[in-house]
């Protein structure tokens, strides 16, 4: 029991500086983040409700718990550090981008309120960076590559891994821009630092995401959105 709590608190620091705390971004930037998050979330909720009805609730909730637990699945890298994933791209590939955004919003909001990992005023930006951008970018890069590969499994998994890497980098760039616009961190310092650190974190993200998808393709391909009938495009009953 304690071990879960400890593991959960450990994963709350996924790399330096992804979850922006309150006070680091200026009030207008934080407010813009909230407006953007609420707008995108409204669309996501409408689309997901239409596709899944009340079935969506247990599926999304358990999936949010899954992403949270999946972030505990670390692997040793070198010198006592360990890699793990954020999960935005994986969630988007498995559940579709809209459902993934709801799931990731729940995960990021949960961490912010329970563990003070990321601020409340800055929650809009954090959800935007880590939940929405990673899901959208990961999904878009994956769907762009997928038809070009004609079912070549290795190439598909390689493209998934690149898609996951790009999603982390985009989130890092976006976080740096928000800090720079707020005047909290000079762009020429924060951008290279964030992009550099997350280039490494992104490799872990890419490798785990591809391996997880490969595992599901081998064992339960029926669970993947592309293989399912169109009527339940985002989840199985």
């Amino acid at each position: 029991m304690m071990s879960i709590t400890q593991a959960a608190i450990q994963v709350t620091s996924d790399g330096p500086g992804m979850h922006i705390p309150d006070g680091f971004v200026s009030a207008p930037v934080a407010a813009a983040g909230w407006v953007a998050m609420v707008g995108i979330l409204a669309v996501a909720v409408r689309v997901t409700n239409r596709e899944l009805n009340e079935k969506a609730v247990p599926l999304m909730g358990v999936m949010a718990a899954f992403i949270f637990a999946a972030q505990m699945m670390n692997f040793p890298v070198a010198g006592g550090t360990s890699g793990h994933m954020l999960g935005g791209a994986l969630a988007a590939i498995l559940l579709g981008p809209w459902a993934a955004m709801i799931v990731m919003t729940a995960v990021v909001g949960f961490k912010s309120v329970l563990f003070q990992d990321g601020g409340i005023a800055a929650l809009g930006l954090n959800v935007l960076n880590m939940g929405m951008l990673t899901a959208l970018v990961g999904y878009a890069s994956y769907r762009t590559a997928e038809p070009l590969l004609r079912g070549n499994r290795t190439a598909l998994l390689a493209s998934v891994s690149v898609a996951a890497w790009i999603s982390v980098e985009v989130a890092a760039v976006s976080t740096s821009l928000q800090l720079a616009v707020s005047g909290s961190s000079p762009l020429d310092v924060v951008l290279p630092a964030m992009v550099g650190v997350h280039a490494l974190i992104g490799v872990g993200e890419g490798l785990i995401t591809a391996a997880a998808l490969g595992f599901i393709m081998t064992t339960r391909a029926d669970l993947l959105p592309q293989r399912r009938p169109a009527s339940s495009s985002t989840g199985r009953g």
Binding site: M73, V113, S184, L213, F215
Partner: protein
């Protein structure tokens, strides 16, 4: 609820004025006060000092004490690294030079760093007070009364409930990996980085399959119990006027500090 909830919410189960206060008053008060705190101008020490007062009052009113609040707020510390460069890049009068590297810190830069850290600390302390005096279920119920979409609130509610179950599953898988990964001290163990990442990825994939299966069982059980799209609560008491006024006073104080220090 679950044992996990008992650990996370161990302070929310205590007794004090703040614990008794309705989440429908506390949640908007905390959100708006944090917004007011974030809009503090650089170098406005008076405003920052005045905004610490509600934190201190809250720490005593919750009977958790200032030490508890201080401990809770250290979680956000690593982010300090992100603002420190500002001290050296912001132009201004040089007040100190780092020995070896020779970087110079400007007075404006140090002011900016101190303000950002102070704002952040106050905001984190206020949030910590909310979570330490309110159960998650109460916070989510409050979100529903403020028209946060049902799907989102229910998702967070279920995530909170099932995180314990899925998290246990994850811990069991990690333990299984540890017990099959024997190694001799001093010798390099385990395959390449790619191989290790693949093992973790397979565990994530396996966890996904198990989680999806579980969500189906949960859904079937919910249907069997007549779930109609929203959790049902037994009490529907309206928000006591006194608590609404109390929350409004806290927000008004924070706004007055900001307006007052700008005018003065």
């Amino acid at each position: 609820m679950t044992a996990f909830a008992a650990v996370v919410e161990r302070y929310a189960a205590r007794e004090s004025v703040l614990h008794r206060a309705d989440a429908r008053a506390k949640v908007p008060a905390v959100f708006l006060t944090v917004l007011a705190v974030t809009s503090t101008r650089e170098g406005d020490w008076l405003a920052l000092a005045l905004l610490v007062i509600p934190v201190v009052v809250g720490a005593y009113a919750s009977k958790l004490g200032p030490w508890f609040v201080l401990r809770r707020t250290f979680l956000a510390l690593p982010f300090v690294l992100a603002v420190l460069p500002l001290a050296f890049t912001r132009p201004g009068e040089t007040v100190l030079t780092l020995p070896v590297v020779g970087w110079t810190a400007s007075d404006d830069g140090l002011t900016a760093v101190a303000t950002i850290l102070a704002r952040s600390w106050i905001a984190v302390a206020i949030t910590a007070l909310l979570v330490s005096t309110t159960t998650v279920v109460e916070i989510l119920r409050a979100l529903r009364t403020f028209r946060v979409p049902r799907l989102l609130v229910a998702t967070i509610f279920f995530a909170y409930r099932y995180f314990f179950v899925i998290g246990e599953e994850a811990v069991r898988m990690l333990r299984a990996r540890d017990s099959r990964s024997a190694s001799i001290p001093g010798h390099r163990a385990g395959g390449t980085l790619r191989w290790r990442a693949r093992v973790a990825g397979y565990m994530v994939g396996s966890l996904f399959v198990r989680s999806l299966d579980r969500s189906e069982r949960v859904y079937a059980a919910m249907q069997a119990r007549g779930y109609a799209g929203e959790p049902q609560f037994l009490d529907h008491a309206p928000l006591p006027v006194r608590q609404g006024v109390g929350a409004a006073l806290v927000v008004a104080y924070a706004v007055a500090v900001q307006v007052g220090t700008r005018l003065a």
